[in-house]
Amino acid sequence: MAGTPTAFDESVGGEARTFRLRDVLARFIGPYTAPLFFSWLVLGGIVFLSLVVLYMSFIPFLPIEPGYTLEHWTNLARPYFINRVLPNTLIVGTGTVLVALFFAGPTAWLLNRTALPGRNLFIALMAVVVLIPGFVKAMGWILLINPRIGILNNFFAGLFGVETVPLSLANPYGMAWVMGLSLTPSMFFLISGPMRSLDPALEEAASVLGANRWWTFLKVGLPLVWPAILGGSIYHFMTALSMFEVPAMLGAAGGQAPVLATELFYSVRPATGEATMISYGAAGVYGVLIAAPSLVALYYYHRVLEKGHRYAVISGKGYRPKEHSLGAFKYPALAFVLLYIFLAAVMPMLVLGWMSLFTYVRMPSWEALSSASLRNYNPEYFMAIIGGPQVIWNTVKLLVTVPVLVLFFSITISWLVVRTRVRLRGLMDNIAMLPHAIPGLAFAFSLFIVALLLERWVPWFELLGTILIIAVANLMERLTYSTRITNASLIQIQRELEESAHVCGARTGITIWRILIPLIKPSLVFAALWTTLLTFREVSMALFLSGPRNQVLSVGVWLAWDAGNIGSAAAGAVVMVLAVGLILLLTLPLTGGRLTTPRLPGSTGRHN
């Protein structure tokens, strides 16, 4: 008769059967259990918060109070909203994507697949562009293009002998221009990973058959990175819909070109004397309205993803990505990249640097230079302006926590979505995209409400006013972008590699850790860097969730600008940009910035 301390007996038809605990567990715990658990943990949180946003749009005030209302929705039927807010929002969204694609597409190819000189530096500068806050770039552009005071306006007016050149950015097209420039690096990084990983054998095959470089790019390279381009376009359309800083700066706050994002912001962040005018219900409505077109776009993105296997290019054979020589085209290509860098990075940095030398904004002139000083860079003064040394420590904690969490959950989700046949994987991927469809600020106030209610029910668990709540908000928000990168990278790896590992007896975890992750390491490092940068400069969620102890640097800089301390804000932005630029240059080799051969464990790295 069988029996052990951990076994129990069951008689079946007179015959005793022994079950061991591990057999029981083995029934319920499989190779997908842990990934499924962690994936649904974060995805469940996303769904819950999204539902809170939706729910808030149907209640008068707080979820714990009785009653429902449609008033927030019926308020939409105003001419102001239908004739101005909605059309402006669509123009801004579409225009932003077009501008970003115009610059990011060619730049991604030039910096990843050609022998363009200075590639590493340009890639670092692309990341630096990200770090410059949107509102600062907007301020710089206002000084450049403004019917009355614009430097470029006055220059062209002088050139053409006219009194003024009526060029202005205070309209949806101007906003799309500035936002498109601002989001180009994001699009660039999204496309770069897959573009770096293209198998040159395919291009060499085309070349052998007589195809020229352009035909090869159009017919071979471009279709292979198409999922990344389409995914990037959808992603940035959603981003543009929910961006607040640039439209507010360029005129939406003044009613000249209101968009959904600014309407949302002002409904949860009242001005002085209007604390009672806060309306989470209206914010919920705007959040849903921003999410709606994004969800439609998401559907089409998913359709592309379903055909992902056609784009697999990384196989079990070794390869080295090929660098194309540009020949005579080198100089126009260089000029194109430099033009973008100038428009998006150099110009704002020059304006930032100039503004940081003064207490109040001064137009560039020799006379103004005589009153310039480095007062805003005085460490004691700077710390006092941004909120004290604790702000720096909070920022460091956030920048370490968020990328680790984001990468962990991204790899988990992407692996299930792209590499397995588990049920509901399509739904999982859609849910991972959901935060990006919903404005970060809507998520933030939803998280705030949930944290508030949690404090009532679980008083020992402190979430409000901590760095953790900002980290959770960023985790949800960044997951979308990171999973696009990990999805796009994993798509390119053929299954034979994993199958070989399983045949040799490797468990799932080992296969992921020792085979998949090394192969997609450049993409993972990009994702981590990008997550860090976006978290570093993110301000609207952090501002809303800020308390006395969890303020971060971006909020300190924003509040300085908001209070009119333009010089201090500019100095803060300069310091942020310099610090991150240095870190990027030091960490670029980790990304394979020199196009080194990606190696499988034990591989010699030679061509087959």
Binding site: I64, A275, A384, A563
Partner: protein, 382 residues
Amino acid sequence: MIRKSIAATLKLSGILTVALALSGTPAAANTDGKKLLQDLISQAKKEGTLDTAHITQLGPAVPALKRAFNKRFGLDLDINVALGDQAGKIAKLLITLRAGGRPEFDTLTASDNDLIVMAEKNYSMPIENWRLLLAEINPAVASGKAEPRDVSPDVVGGQSFVWATRTKALVYNTDLASESTIPQRIVDLADPKFKGQFTVAPWTDTFEQGIMVYKDKAEWLRVLDRIGKNARGVMRFEPALNRILLKEFPFAFMNSAEYLGVKAHDAKAPVGIHWFTDYTPMSLQMYTLPRGSRHPAAATLWALWMTTPEAQAIFQKVSPQENLRFGQSDIDQRSIAEIKKSGSKLVSYLDSPESVQALKWWATDEGAKYRAKLKSNITQRQ
């Protein structure tokens, strides 16, 4: 002669005795006040921490304020001061307290029209024996230069404490405009001849006090609608001031402290200030303690200490936030003199019982709806 001096002494003694009787027992009150203060300080020591907020303009003054505060009371508190976003903080606080949560801040500053909401909804915590404590902490009150009700007006008595006032005026670029070419009254902003020459701020308190001067609320909304249509756009005070300095447009209606701040940094800056002849709105900036504050003793000390000349001397060095209610500094006296000279009428919510009613009215549903219409007229967001 001796009889006369004895008679005088007796008379003085009698007067003093009556005075003492009428004032209660000041000697005993002083002892009570000292004891109360000592108890409060002991409690604050046990609390060890203070979470509070201040306006961003005073950020550079925060380290000095913390040091001076701790030194004044013999404390070594860990003080966290979050800067900026006053209205956002109050809005979150209202929601937190409404949901039954604990406030993140032990004490925070806001303007009178936000704090009246807290008082009306019983969200502010009244400080017991605040008059005695105030007399111990604020030498201006102890010496009689300021009355307790100057520091904590009756309508929010013992719950909120004034540390500064905000007056609004027209700030203009002297290269683009002069006293004779700018609007003389607030209602003149609706004059078509000033179209596109100014911006308006997105908040309502710039124009709210107009209902106390112009009385007809419906007509005031129409005036504000015309002003909103006349404005070249909506802009906060600080960026508007920057644009004025850059000569993008000639003037804007904003806090006088913005003008004073520019002049403090650059006396030659081409900006001037005009006090409107119909009225000059003044709001009070006050510290309040929300109910459920985690460190109430420390918060009480901070809120009361911020009203003192000592605190004012520190922050006025960094940003010239006036106190036209009971301040005695040079900045305060200069501004008071200039307003008097201009003939402008200073209007605040605490001038009279009628104005107090107006302040309370804003906290009602009707007031909230009116405020929403006022905002949409100013900003032209219908």
